[in-house]
Structures are given as structure tokens and as C-alpha cells.
């Protein structure tokens, strides 16, 4: 229990005490980790509570997409890509993790605004809980992926133990992107829709359903500036090719991940006080 004496002598809140928001927010989020965990649990529970398929819903989306894409494209890429279902599925689940997490960071902030305007919470609470839910879904999808690998005869190799690294980088990129667009969305609601358009463009500019080699040299070069290209490549190598991701890919993916997280986190935390005024 609280020691009332201690609690009342210490100044718990002073509006003029403003440590750098970038680091202060990290400390606050850590202090509220139990809440973030509960939000993740709550999100997963609510999603599956009233549905017959339960956890299957998470898997249905990538599985159906995999099936449709396999039917549509496996003939087209027959010679470039053997085991097309695994190729497509591994790219898809990382893509869905990134797109859903970054979009959820935005929608959760808007959804959570009724809490944020009534009680103090760290401003990044909802982005972090969106990330947590995304990671849980990704784990379920990975389990499904392994089943697909076993069925289609793609060997499950020890290189798969590299996967946490590309997942971490994808998480950083998704969080940074989500926070950056959340800040914009707090000013302009149409940013949410615009982000969806941006995502669909990015989807086709990432080698998820096709191999990078089908593109022209120029286009391949240009796509190096798309962080998702490196993330998907780093994620896919241990699964599809059974080898560790190469250093150059990891290096570029890390660079994009750090840059996007630092930009997203600092833009969001420096504007966070304003955001509550606008919710």
C-alpha cells in the first residue's frame, strides 16, 4: 500500500518540470507497461470473444490471400519461384504486420481519445499496445506459416532462429511510421484515408507477390529506398531460402528502422501535449 506521508511530501506533478519529451515518454511508457499489456490482452480477447472462428480470424486473412494469390500468380512465376505459397505467405505476414500495426496505432489513438481526455496516460500507450497486438498476431501467423511449409514440402531450417531480428526491425519501422502519421492524423482526419492509399501503393512496390528480379534494373535500384523491400527480404531469407539474411539487407533495414523510429517518436512526443487539445 502507499505510504501516505511519503506520497504527500513528494511533488508528484509539476507542470514546469519538463524533461526532454523524447526520453521522458519512454520512462512513462515503461511505468505504464502493465496497462499496455492489458490493452494488448483486451484487444485479443475482444476480437475473438464473440466469433466462432476465434483465433482463426487472424489467420484467415493471410491464408485466403495466399490461396488467391497462388491461384492467380503461381503459373505466371512458375519458373522464377518454386514453392510459391510459402514465398507469398512469408512476404504477406510481414507486410500485414507492418501495415496493420502502423494503421492501428492511428485508429487506436482516435479510439482511445475518450480515455486520454479524462485521465492521464502516456501518450504513446495506444501506439505501443497496437504494436503488441500486431506482434501477437504475427506469432500466430508464423505458426500457420510453418504448417504451410510442412504441407508444401519447404524444409524448416535452423536459420529460422534469425527471424526475431527482422521482426524487431519491422516493429521499429511500424511504430515509427504509426506515430508519425498519428501526429498528422490528429490535425487532419483525412490522413487516415490517405495513409491507406499510401499503403496500397507500397504493397505493390514491395516484392510480396512477385520476385524483385522481374523488375527492370532501374526500378530495382529505385526500390532500394523502400524500407519494406529490405524488411521483407530479411524476413523471407530464413524461411524461404533457409539461410540467414545477408548483412547488406540487414544493414539497410536497420538504418530505415532506426531513422523511422527516431523521427516518429520525436515528432509524436514533441507534439503530444497539443494532440490532447485536439482529440
Amino acid at each position: 500500500m502507499d505510504a501516505p506521508h511519503m506520497a504527500s511530501t513528494a511533488c508528484t506533478y509539476d507542470s514546469e518540470n519538463r524533461p526532454p519529451a523524447f526520453f521522458a515518454e519512454m520512462a512513462e511508457a515503461w511505468r505504464y507497461r502493465a496497462l499496455i499489456r492489458q490493452l494488448v490482452e483486451r484487444d485479443i480477447k475482444v476480437r475473438y470473444k464473440r466469433s466462432i472462428l476465434g483465433i482463426g480470424w487472424t489467420l484467415l486473412n493471410p491464408l485466403l490471400m495466399m490461396a488467391v494469390l497462388t491461384i492467380a500468380f503461381s503459373q505466371l512465376f512458375k519458373f522464377q519461384i518454386p514453392f510459391y505459397p510459402v514465398y507469398v505467405f512469408s512476404g504477406l505476414i510481414l507486410w500485414l504486420f507492418f501495415s496493420q500495426t502502423s494503421a492501428a496505432a492511428m485508429s487506436q489513438l482516435i479510439w482511445g481519445s475518450h480515455l486520454m481526455t479524462r485521465i492521464y496516460l502516456p501518450r504513446t500507450t495506444f501506439a505501443l499496445s497496437a504494436l503488441g497486438s500486431g506482434l501477437v498476431n504475427l506469432l500466430f501467423s508464423l505458426a500457420a506459416l510453418i504448417v504451410v511449409m510442412l504441407i508444401t514440402g519447404v524444409p524448416v531450417r535452423p536459420a529460422m532462429l534469425w527471424l526475431p531480428l527482422p521482426i524487431l526491425l519491422a516493429a521499429m519501422t511500424a511504430l515509427g511510421t504509426g506515430l508519425f502519421f498519428s501526429t498528422l492524423a490528429s490535425w487532419f482526419t483525412d490522413v487516415v484515408d490517405m495513409y491507406q492509399i499510401l499503403l496500397s501503393a507500397l504493397y505493390f512496390l514491395t516484392p510480396i507477390i512477385y520476385p524483385l528480379s522481374v523488375l527492370s534494373e532501374d526500378l530495382q535500384w529505385a526500390l532500394r529506398f523502400n524500407p519494406m523491400v529490405h524488411l521483407v527480404e530479411a524476413f523471407r531469407a530464413p524461411i524461404y531460402e533457409g539461410r540467414p539474411p545477408d548483412a547488406a539487407t540487414l544493414g539497410l533495414a536497420s538504418l530505415f528502422a532506426v531513422v523511422s523510429l527516431v523521427i516518429g517518436w520525436s515528432v509524436f512526443t514533441s507534439r503530444a501535449d497539443d494532440i490532447v487539445y485536439r482529440l
Binding site: 506520497a7 504527500s8 513528494a10 509539476d14 514546469e16 496497462l35 483486451r42 485521465i119 483525412d190 501535449d273
Partner: protein
């Protein structure tokens, strides 16, 4: 008219030197500004077009202006004023939800805002899950929640409903559960917005008794209330806010009467144009 502000009322409370250590809340020259776009520009496209033509204008709205007050530890402090006078904004700044635009707010002790009971409830989750979530929202640890859980259920009188989803609760039941969670632990500082209309007559009495108990044990309370009698009965001192400014601070009966008189005056003027 009794409504003239006496500047003497706005000064810091007596015992100014002791106040440094005995104040639970100190608000100094607090101002809060909202910037409202003149025309509602909510899309980026629209903003870009208007910006280009130099036509984005903001209307500044000062919800609070130069408010200075302090609440002593253990005191029950009332806030009165019309709609839009800045009462809720003041509570939000104290609760750390809004940052001051100017001025300073210092709070000693742990705050529990009893602002909108059950804002954190989710309809699909059970009573049990919602209790856990709301208690976590108030910063309680899992161990503390386990420890207090039986108490919360008993106080809410909802022991038969803990495993039912919240959407099956009546609004009265949800409010009872929300109040039980929010007040399961004695806070250093309790912020209460508006009259507590929780459940039936019997339950209301129970709520009042619990709050009264906190008060006796030294919890500092800040009340926003429209009910003059409640204000006078509960509060030691009160502030009257008008248009975001302090109109009067003093013993609750004095402030409540001054405020009531000003309203009576307005009504009189309204009937005789």
C-alpha cells in the same frame, strides 16, 4: 449586488509560509488556451487549399485565464460556475490531462479522477476483466488489484455478475462498478466532477459514506458541483469561476451564496428586459 470581486479574496491563503508545505495543489497564474479553427478545416486537402490562399484563421478561446489558487492538504474544495466557465478544464489541468498554456500547476500526492465513471469500460469484456482494466488504468499493480478484488465486488453488490459481459449491465450497475473500482483505494487527492448520481438512493448513501470516510482520513478533494446545498455541506472552501477567471475564492457558503445571487440577478434581468 454581492457579486463584485473583492481582490482580497484572490490572494494566497493565510499562513503563506506554511502553505508551501501544506498545499496539496498549487495553481499559479494558470491559463489554458484552445485554438479553434474559424471554419472547421479537418482535412489536409482543405487545409492545403486554404493555406495557399492564406485563409486559415484560428479563434483563440481562453478556457482559463490567470487562475491562482491553492488547495490545502486534507481540504475539500469546491468549484462553481456556469457551463463553460472553465471548471472541467481546471480539473483536467490538475489531473495532468491538459498542459497549461501558461502558468504553473503543482500537485502533491496521487490523484484519482472520478470524472467520468466507467470511461474505460469495454462492453464485450466481463465485469471481472473490466475491474482489472480500470484499476490498471488508475495505476494499480496486479497484486494490489488481487488484494482489493473481493472488496470491489462486495461494494458494487454485483457478485453474481462478475463473469457476464458489461454490455448486459444496466447503466446503474456499470456506474456502481466504476465507482467501486475508482474508490477501492484511498487516494491522496480525489477529483469529482458533477453530482454523483450513482445507482439508487441506498447506493448513493454508501458512496457518500465512502467519500466522507476518505475525507476524515485526510484525502484532499476537489468537487465540481451545481448543487448549492451539497457544496456548502461538503466543502471547506470554494472558488467561483466566471469566463475562465477567478471571480471569488473563500469559505464555501460565501462563494456559493455569491454565485447563487448572481444567477438570481440574471434571471431577474431576463424577466424584465
Amino acid at each position: 449586488m454581492v457579486t463584485e470581486t473583492r481582490t482580497g479574496d484572490v490572494r494566497k491563503p493565510p499562513l503563506a509560509t506554511a502553505a508551501e508545505t501544506s498545499d496539496a495543489i498549487r495553481v499559479e497564474n494558470l491559463s489554458v488556451r484552445f485554438r479553434i479553427p474559424q471554419e472547421r478545416v479537418s482535412s489536409l486537402k482543405e487545409f492545403a487549399i486554404r493555406r495557399f490562399r492564406n485563409r486559415v484563421s484560428f479563434r483563440e478561446f481562453w478556457a482559463l485565464q490567470d487562475v491562482t489558487l491553492s488547495v490545502r492538504r486534507g481540504e475539500t474544495f469546491g468549484i462553481v460556475g456556469r457551463n463553460g466557465a472553465g471548471k472541467s478544464t481546471l480539473l483536467k489541468v490538475i489531473a495532468r490531462v491538459l498542459r497549461p498554456t501558461a502558468g504553473r500547476v503543482r500537485v502533491h500526492g496521487r490523484i484519482v479522477p472520478l470524472l467520468d465513471i466507467g470511461a474505460g469500460f469495454h462492453p464485450e469484456l466481463t465485469g471481472r476483466e473490466n475491474v482489472r482494466f480500470n484499476a490498471t488504468l488508475l495505476g494499480r499493480s496486479p497484486a494490489e488489484i488481487d488484494h482489493a478484488f473481493a472488496d470491489i465486488v462486495a461494494f458494487s453488490e454485483l457478485s453474481g455478475f462478475m463473469d457476464a459481459p458489461l454490455r448486459t449491465y444496466s447503466s446503474g450497475m456499470a456506474a456502481r462498478l466504476g465507482f467501486a473500482v475508482a474508490t477501492a483505494w484511498k487516494p491522496d487527492l480525489l477529483l469529482v466532477d458533477e453530482t454523483l448520481a450513482v445507482g439508487d438512493e441506498g447506493f448513493r448513501a454508501k458512496c457518500q459514506a465512502r467519500l466522507e470516510g476518505f475525507r476524515r482520513q485526510g484525502t484532499t478533494m476537489v468537487w465540481v458541483s451545481h448543487d448549492r446545498n451539497q457544496m456548502v455541506a461538503l466543502c471547506d472552501r470554494a472558488v467561483w469561476l466566471d469566463g475562465g477567471r477567478v471571480k471569488r475564492i473563500g469559505p464555501s457558503a460565501e462563494v456559493a451564496d455569491a454565485y447563487a445571487n448572481s444567477k438570481a440577478g440574471d434571471e431577474y434581468e431576463e424577466t424584465r428586459p
